[in-house]
């Protein structure tokens, strides 16, 4: 949405600066028609400022959700569960619940967030 608006304002900017340039040239060619001259300058500067305006800093994103990954203690069993973080969770905490597949104890394996990729990455 914001991106589309950015495109639109660039387009209007281009249009305005073009129109301004035409009016300005016309005003300059007609000796003494200073009003056209001024209007041309104004329209063109408006267009250029729209063209060169940088996008507003993006609005604040809510932090990505923290998840808790739970593994079964039995190394043969591949039971995994990922749920939302709850206060009191910590890595390597033994949970009271038992594994639904083999009945062995469950442990919190990791707690993490998945951040979105940083926008700028250099060519590597």
């Amino acid at each position: 949405m914001v991106y589309m608006m950015g495109i639109a304002s660039k387009f209007v900017g281009l249009l305005l600066s073009g129109a301004g340039a035409v009016i300005l040239t016309y005003g300059m060619s007609k000796e003494g028609d200073w009003m056209l001259y001024v209007v041309g300058l104004f329209v063109m500067s408006l267009g250029l400022s729209l063209l060169t305006a940088r996008r507003q800093p993006t609005e604040i994103h809510p932090p990505p959700p923290t998840v808790t990954e739970i593994h079964c203690d039995n190394s043969e069993c591949d039971f995994r569960e990922i749920r939302d973080f709850q206060r009191g969770d910590y890595v390597l905490k033994k949970l009271p619940a038992k594994c639904p597949r083999c009945g062995r104890p469950l442990t919190i394996h990791a707690i993490y967030v998945t951040r979105e990729q940083a926008p700028s990455t250099a060519a590597s």
Binding site: D33, Y90, V91, K93, A110, T114, T121
Partner: protein
């Protein structure tokens, strides 16, 4: 009406004059206008810093309120504590500066501990450590805000280009750091593991792989630091980390020193594992190896490791996981979690290649153990 003025030399002269006046004004006052623009931009940044400071302060108050004291008392006590300072020891006479620094840091920790215990009487030990971290975030944000505000007011009053330009140029960096701290506070308040905790987590996973448990952890070999003793391919490994899941870094440097001395210097290798700041463009979670003590304390701990290692001629090796500020002090990133098995493999390879069976090895996981159990 204007259009009816007959076109002529008078009008042209007026336009020419206006143009000339404009040029003169711009060349005389252009810099002023630039300063005014910069001040406006600093004002914007300052407002953002202030917002983060206020919100962080409220988070601190809310978090402390959970542990037994009424709102008003918590509020006034936190405000009193916000600009608590530590004066760095004089280094004009460098002899013994590290001992003096260590002395001051101990004092600071004691005072902090005392304050937290007073303000959150119902908190458990681990929760107190987390609360300490929560408060530290607010302190940092408060400090950044107050310094920027100082230079903003000073710049505005004196009109000094030098002052205004400096603040203006540093603003994006300051905002980035402040944002990283601001985002991290949630992790500290809820006791979530942070990116800096990758060292202790790696060490603990490795120790558990070789049979260590929370019960076999030897507590308090140095302040808030202990170790698991495990056998890895015939070598005895002292897997050292701060005691979690409270948020503390402990004093791993002194723990390393003590283990070396307890073994009469018969340690074959010291491997430190830590998080390190990545450069822009480097991948988050990149593993990097090197020589030396990977520990980012103000000095005394690193000195203790280097000094003892040199005395007993113990090689120092370091493995770091690269992260940016936001990832290091914020909730641990998935990418960091994903590289842990690879770090463990590299540690095993180092032990296999560069020590002999029967040797004793210290493996120190450096970092904040918030949210990482034993």
């Amino acid at each position: 009406m204007l259009m009816q003025i007959p076109e002529g030399t008078e009008l042209n002269q007026i336009i020419n004059l206006a143009f000339f006046v404009f040029i003169v004004l711009m060349s005389l006052y252009g810099q002023r206008i630039q300063m005014w623009q910069w001040l406006k931009q600093i004002e914007g940044g300052l407002a953002e810093l202030k917002r983060m400071r206020e919100e962080s302060r409220s988070t601190s108050i809310e978090t402390f309120e959970r542990y037994g004291r009424p709102h008003e008392e918590v509020e006034s006590d936190i405000d009193r504590w916000l600009d608590f300072f530590t004066i760095m020891p004089v280094d004009l006479d460098p002899a013994g500066v590290l001992q003096r620094l260590e002395h001051l840091l101990n004092e600071r920790r004691d005072r902090f501990g005392e304050f937290i215990a007073e303000l959150a009487p119902d908190a458990q030990e681990a929760e107190r450590q987390n609360l300490e971290n929560v408060l530290e975030v607010t302190q940092v944000l408060d400090l950044i805000y107050r310094i920027v505000r100082h230079f903003y007011i000073l710049g505005k009053r004196t009109g000094s280009t030098l002052i205004i330009m400096q603040v203006h140029m540093q603003m994006p960096e300051l905002l980035r750091i402040a944002k990283a701290y601001y985002d991290a506070q949630e992790a500290f308040a809820d006791g979530k593991p942070i990116g800096d905790g990758v060292g202790p987590l790696v060490v603990t996973r490795l120790a558990h792989e070789y049979g260590a448990t929370a019960e076999s952890y030897v507590h308090d070999v140095a302040r808030e630091v202990g170790y698991y003793e495990v056998k890895v391919e015939g070598r005895i490994v002292y897997a050292l980390r701060a005691t979690g899941p409270g948020g503390t870094v402990g004093k791993p440097g002194f723990a390393v020193k003590r283990i070396i001395e307890d073994n009469n210097g018969k340690i074959a290798r010291i491997i430190t594992v830590d998080a390190a700041l990545k450069l822009e463009g480097e991948d988050l979670g990149r593993i990097s190896e090197g020589i030396g003590a990977a520990i980012g304390d103000p000095g005394p701990e690193k000195h203790a490791i280097e000094e003892t290692a040199t005395q007993h001629n113990v090689p120092l090796e370091a493995i770091v996981v690269k992260q940016d500020e936001a990832a290091a002090i914020g909730v641990m990133d998935k990418k960091v979690v994903d590289v842990i098995p690879e770090v463990i493999e590299r540690i095993k390879a180092a032990i296999r290649k560069r020590t002999e069976p029967g040797d004793r090895v210290i493996l120190a996981g450096i970092g904040n153990t918030i949210g990482i159990g034993l």
